[in-house]
């Protein structure tokens, strides 16, 4: 099996099969792959001997499109990459362009951005929890999670008119003022939310079946995680206490007090615990932020036609899935010369091979769920 070591899943072909090995195809259409992902599994009996991910079914050429749109025109496109957490994508892009323009959003805008982004993080993790639990067979949490997510999407809809692909932020700040009752809505949601997370934890965290399905499954060591460039909850569950919101703060995160949940084993159970804790911490940030939103302008004075000085910038944020980075090269015109999106799901998915190899076939679905990928981001 040497040729498969450390390759991030090289091609699995029939010519290299051993005597007892078969190839099993988890086709692009499958209820548990969270999108159009094709995984070819090389099986040795019940154990996975190698995996190969075939992606690109959702490739839409977003980076090429960026070269033919102005900076503001490109902003709605970024929502469609990680469509589950659109607000985060928008935040990363707007902040990257603001860096390129050597400007900054005003304080009020930064705080509102923080609140919306943390709400989006909760929504993204809720969707992850519901679908992951559903894959493992728990039929009920998905409905509870979507009930909570509905509340957040209502807040987004009231704020900017859209629930999913929100385009909530603009380059330089915000377009819309917060609506009347925004603070009240957020406070009400956050007040309720702690009990709700406790509900989900009651259903799953100490449940013997859940624990036996997730403990020891899909282990990723810290070394492997760093070598594979894995970021986000997956990295934190493997033991590395690192969060871009603390290491290289952006928006208004340096003002708030929150923790970085970390675990050591790097298995599916730990990733579950990390994300549950992250939801709690996000709620904590929202509560702090909404108490004290500064008054003032919501948009920096940058004019309508944006022509950043030539140069390049790489700016990344801690998206719910990991480190979402934007590398933008400007040549001084109104359209970016190159926009490169560093997609956390794409890079985290590479770790699937490491996590699934040696385990049982039945666990592959759980492992794909635990990495938390969105194909829109993997393929762009």
């Amino acid at each position: 099996m040497d040729e498969y070591s450390n390759r991030g899943g090289s091609s699995v072909s029939t010519t290299e099969l051993g005597a007892d090995e078969i190839i099993l195809n988890m086709g692009p259409q499958h209820p548990s792959t969270h999108g159009v992902l094709r995984v070819k599994l090389k099986l040795d009996g019940e154990r996975v001997a190698g995996t190969e991910c075939i992606i690109g079914y959702l490739h839409r050429g977003v980076e090429k499109i960026a070269e033919h749109r102005t900076y503001q025109q490109f902003a709605p496109y970024v929502d469609r990459m990680d469509y589950v957490a659109a607000v985060s994508n928008g935040l990363g892009y707007c902040e990257a362009v603001e860096k390129l323009l050597l400007t900054e959003a005003p304080p009020r805008a930064r705080v509102v951005r923080t609140i919306l982004t943390e709400l989006q993080r909760i929504a993204s993790h809720l969707l992850w929890l519901g679908t992951h639990a559903l894959d493992i067979g728990a039929l009920t949490p998905v409905f509870y999670c979507f009930r909570e997510r509905e509340e957040i999407l209502k807040i987004f809809e009231k704020y900017c008119g859209a629930r999913l692909t929100t385009h909530a932020f603009r380059i330089g700040g915000l377009q819309y003022e917060t609506y009347d009752g925004f603070e009240a809505d957020v406070k009400r949601f956050c007040a309720d939310f702690t009990h709700k997370i406790d509900e989900y934890e009651t259903l799953l965290t100490l449940n013997r079946i859940w624990v036996s399905r997730t403990k020891g499954v899909g282990i990723l060591t810290a070394e492997d995680a760093i070598a594979l460039g894995v970021t986000g909850p997956v990295l934190r569950a493997s033991g590395i206490k690192w969060d871009l919101r603390k290491a290289q703060p952006y928006a208004a995160y340096d003002k708030y007090d929150f923790e970085i949940p970390t675990r050591e084993h790097g298995d599916t159970y730990d990733r579950y615990l990390v994300r549950m804790d992250e939801m709690r911490q996000s709620q904590r940030i929202c509560m702090q932020a909404v108490e004290d939103i500064p008054v003032g302008a919501i948009m920096a004075r940058i004019g309508k036609v944006l022509k950043p000085p030539p140069g390049e910038v790489y700016h990344s944020i801690e998206a719910p899935k990991g480190e979402l980075g934007y590398y933008i090269v400007s040549d001084g015109t109104v359209q970016p010369y190159r926009v490169r999106v560093r997609p956390p799901s794409f890079i985290n998915l590479q770790a699937l091979d490491k996590m699934a190899r040696g385990g049982l076939v039945a666990d592959v679905v759980a492992i794909i769920g635990t990495i938390d990928i969105v194909l829109g981001e993997v393929d762009r």
């Binding site: 290491a247 036609v305 000085p309 040549d331 010369y337 560093r342």
Partner: protein, 256 residues
């Protein structure tokens, strides 16, 4: 994307808040390595225009009113003769401990070092990329490869920039390694240094056609295996592809 011609020396208003440095050289792109020590000495090194020439028909994106694109030869000639453009405040030369250590170890292969918007960039020679990367990982503690990508400057002799974004957990620092390769030239693969590079290099191959030497399995990742052409290159003509596909598969003339 049309460029403003350098000889007109029109300032491209940066529209920054609080009015920073006067406008940069219009349409300036990243400096080329063939302007050596001058770049290190003064930030006023002429930065030739990296023009973008899009083959007809031009895309329908709205563009600011601009003159017709000039050919590369004219522009280069003009750039070489152009007076030193005003300094670009967000790009400053970098000469810190790290750069000095790297230069003392690798000498002239570390071609340039500067800060763009306070982000450190090192331009290195392509053949030594993997040694330099290994040194970054092992000695300088840049243990994570955050991103590996490329940019196409078709007017340049070495048209591709291969860019590695690195991050050090211990120092909480980022570093960007850049190297230039020309078409057909292959860049060394860093797969053996960071396993993350596997899919990232495959994507660069898929989108740009840059070959990575030493990569265990270099094939297309996002596009179907039988795709022809490299989409993120600037001379990739979508309309031509579309017409060809429609002709081949539907047997009619495309209406575009």
């Amino acid at each position: 994307m049309a460029e403003e011609v350098p000889e007109k020396d029109k300032p491209a208003a940066p529209l920054t808040e609080g009015g920073a440095a006067p406008s940069s050289a219009p349409g300036a792109a990243t400096p080329k390595p063939d302007v050596p020590t001058a770049a290190v000495a003064s930030p006023d090194a002429p930065k030739p225009v990296g023009e973008v020439e899009i083959s007809a028909p031009a895309p329908a994106a709205p563009k600011p009113a601009a003159p017709a694109p000039k050919t590369a030869a004219t522009a280069a000639a003009v750039a070489a003769k152009a007076a030193a453009p005003p300094p670009v405040a967000q790009q400053t030369v970098l000469d810190n401990e790290l750069v000095r250590r790297m230069k003392s170890q690798f000498g002239g292969t570390i071609q340039e070092a500067w800060l763009d918007r306070k982000q450190a960039i090192l331009v290195v020679a392509a053949p030594l990329l993997s040694e330099i990367a290994r040194c970054c990982r092992d000695d300088e503690q840049f243990d994570m490869l955050v991103d590996l990508t490329a940019v196409d400057w078709p007017k340049r002799e070495k048209r591709f920039d291969v860019i590695l974004n690195l991050y050090s957990f211990a120092k909480n620092e980022r570093l960007r390694l850049k190297t230039m390769v020309s078409e057909g030239e292959s860049a060394p693969s860093v797969c053996s240094i960071w396993a993350a590079a596997n899919w990232l290099e495959r994507e660069v191959w898929d989108m740009f056609g840059i070959d990575f030497e030493g990569h265990p399995d270099l094939r297309r990742i996002l596009l179907p295996d039988e795709w022809e052409g490299f989409p993120l290159r600037k001379d990739y003509d979508i309309l031509k592809q579309d017409t060809a596909w429609v002709q081949a598969n539907l047997g009619i003339e495309s209406g575009q």
